[in-house]
Point group: C2
Chain length 204, copies 2
């Protein structure tokens, strides 16, 4: 890919850098995993691995599926900001993406958002969907689960299925092989479709 070389000289959009990183690390299953930090209810940071589910169509928003019964939903509903740290283990590239998170769960009234949640549900594998039938995460184990869950593939999102829409405002990109670092800052207008990014080359 030409991305790395271009990055060493100038101004490539972070989306292009990310696409190249995903491409060059595609043979690694974990290349679509990243760590999402939020602020917990007691004010301390929280951090966990989640899976990249692609971008929302026509935007830079990152989609993440999660279980509405996990603590992060309560955390995000209280404080809407997060930072993704996405490290690519083969190309030694890191994307730190800071932004606002929108929670779309079974209680969301906006019909367009519910449609997006439904699409994300059906875009998941049946095996992924099955996990939303499991006992409440983080509660004490009451009995050993048989793990023998069944789910009709045509059924819509379960109540425990939640879609997070992560809206990037700043991206801090570093390439440790090429020793370059770029800061991308969104200068978003209220009209989301008009999202420009300022780029600055900084010391790694």
């Amino acid at each position: 890919m030409a991305a790395g070389g271009a990055a060493a000289t100038a101004a490539q959009h972070w989306r292009a850098l990310l696409a190249a990183a995903l491409d060059s690390n595609a043979h690694l299953k974990h290349s679509t995993y990243f760590q999402l930090a939020t602020v917990s209810v007691n004010g301390r940071p929280a951090n966990r691995t989640v899976v990249f589910r692609g971008f929302q169509e026509g935007s830079d928003n990152i989609l993440i599926n999660t279980d509405s019964r996990t603590r992060k939903i309560e955390e995000i509903n209280q404080f809407h900001y997060g930072e993704i740290c996405w490290y690519f283990t083969e190309s030694w590239e890191q994307f730190r993406i800071n932004g606002r998170i929108d929670v779309i769960d079974s209680s969301t009234r906006d019909l367009a958002k519910q449609q997006q949640r439904k699409e994300s549900w059906f875009a998941s594998s049946l095996k992924s969907r099955l996990q939303y039938l499991r006992p409440v995460p983080r509660l004490p184990v009451l009995e050993e689960s048989s793990e023998d869950y069944q789910l009709d593939p045509s059924i819509g999102p379960l109540d425990s299925f939640c879609l997070l829409v992560f809206n990037p405002e700043q991206v801090d990109y570093v390439n440790l092989k090429r020793n370059v670092r770029f800061l991308f800052t969104s200068s978003r207008s209220s009209d989301q479709s008009n999202n420009a990014w300022q780029i600055e080359k900084v010391n790694p």
Copy 2:
């Protein structure tokens, strides 16, 4: 290693689980990298990849080297808590470690802490030490650096060298292959040497 099997049945200390994970992933350079979340000065979460530098002798404290000129030092000095997310890409194990962070930099007066900082400096490779000579991280690039730094191997810690001592209070361990999860909570006495851990098996 027997650790995974033991974890499926009961109560193994998180240190033993971590030692087994490090062992089974040792062929991967990135197995000693994890993501450290903190709360930034504006209250938003911050998250970045750092390198595990071992445990402080005789304790569960995790050592991390960093540059005192990075923002995380200002962040941690304002709010001392962090959460490590350490995902092992081959064994599918995740350790979320929440705790308090102690900053030891050139201004620290405690002699024992300065000794620890000095030991961490000399435990680093000469190549690692060279990075503390580089231009201030995250400032605009003024000129292309020649990367031709020299450093006397016998010289002690540079001012920009900072040691973080991460003091774990809770560890949330999940093994995605075996589908088990344990919460470890410290019941530390004021005497740090007497650190007991409570263990609870919870739903993944």
